[in-house]
Symmetry: C2
Subunit: 205 residues, 2 copies
């Protein structure tokens, strides 16, 4: 062996080292639910609260994934699966980078969510079901998508013309029809505490 063999050695920072620097564990919180059920709103509320405590987190959702990483994909079942596969792989990279990932995707198929879970070490994937009826989401219809789906302008719309498979073993169920975003965010933070992602002292409230 010569000195140049050493010079070109592979070196890297481990996830554990990053977690130590950040003063919290990394994890993936996976929000699933119908369009309009509040996934992104809750995720962003959690993000804001984590940031206040100097925790590193990042929201991955349709807004920043569908227009970039998955801009080549549509909404047919196979494309939805591939969308979720890539989102889950991106979430894994962010968690390796030491961050608390807040992934908010309709992710209607149980098999896709289970595949996402399987990418991560046990206990690092926390599924949060934003449970809200189609009727309630449709009545709210913040983005006007349900109206367009009913009018036949959007094909493969979850809850209308494409199925949603409810979680059977979510770590947390939020009834987002009846609770507000503040309360929902508080429960997610409790979940992060329970799983040792953030320390109890982060949240004396």
């Amino acid at each position: 062996m010569t000195s140049s063999d050493i010079v070109w050695q592979y070196s890297s920072i481990t996830r554990a080292q990053r977690e130590q620097l950040n003063n919290h564990r990394s994890a993936v919180v996976w929000f699933t639910g119908l369009s309009g059920s509040g996934k992104s709103s809750v995720a962003r509320a959690v993000e804001a609260r984590l940031f206040q405590q100097a925790c590193r987190s990042f929201v991955l959702d349709g807004d920043n994934v569908r227009h970039g990483l998955c801009s080549d994909l549509g909404f047919a079942p196979a494309e939805r699966s591939e969308n979720i596969r890539r989102a889950a792989e991106a979430a894994r990279l962010f968690s390796e980078a030491g961050m608390i990932v807040l992934a908010a995707f309709i992710s209607p198929f149980r098999a896709d969510r289970e595949r996402a879970r399987a990418l991560l070490p046990a206990g690092d994937f926390l599924e949060v079901y934003c449970r809200c009826s189609v009727a309630a989401c449709e009545e709210r219809d913040v983005k006007g998508l349900y109206r367009r789906a009913r009018a036949g302008e959007i094909a493969d719309f979850t809850g209308i013309s494409s199925p949603y498979e409810e979680p059977t073993r979510a770590e947390l169920v939020l009834d987002t029809c009846s609770i507000g975003v503040e309360e929902a965010a508080r429960r997610v933070l409790d979940l992060l505490r329970e799983h040792g992602v953030i320390a109890a002292r982060h949240w004396p409230l």
Copy 2:
């Protein structure tokens, strides 16, 4: 408007806020060059030095992208382009999350690299060309890939059976045939200082 309209409002943390928390800017350093030219080695050496100074950085390279985010892709020209497109989109997400991204990809096609550059605000994409001759990379052949390419066991191998288009406006050229990884990493850190990504005081050495 009712209180529930407010409750479900969209809120988020800006990149600038994250940069302030991290005490450095985010950016994408894009290492390009032949297989075996030292891209990942230099990237990891930079990552280690940034970590020592509590800077948040992350290496994106073939090791963590080809086996995950792009596991469905091969090495034909169109697949290489799609691989780089997704890597660049992932890099953009990490930079939005406030991190210094160290992206190490052969990325042989100029158009793909320019597309990656165009994803980011001006000044946030720093192209680093790891310049090393095919002969030198082949002689080193750390992974035994050149031998297999010459034997016809690997198709579309950059420098052998697939072209490499040299950068024409890289922010930095590293002659990785002749300089060691320590020196290369030092020059990348200088580049980050020059572009105001990290503060001068981070690097009094």
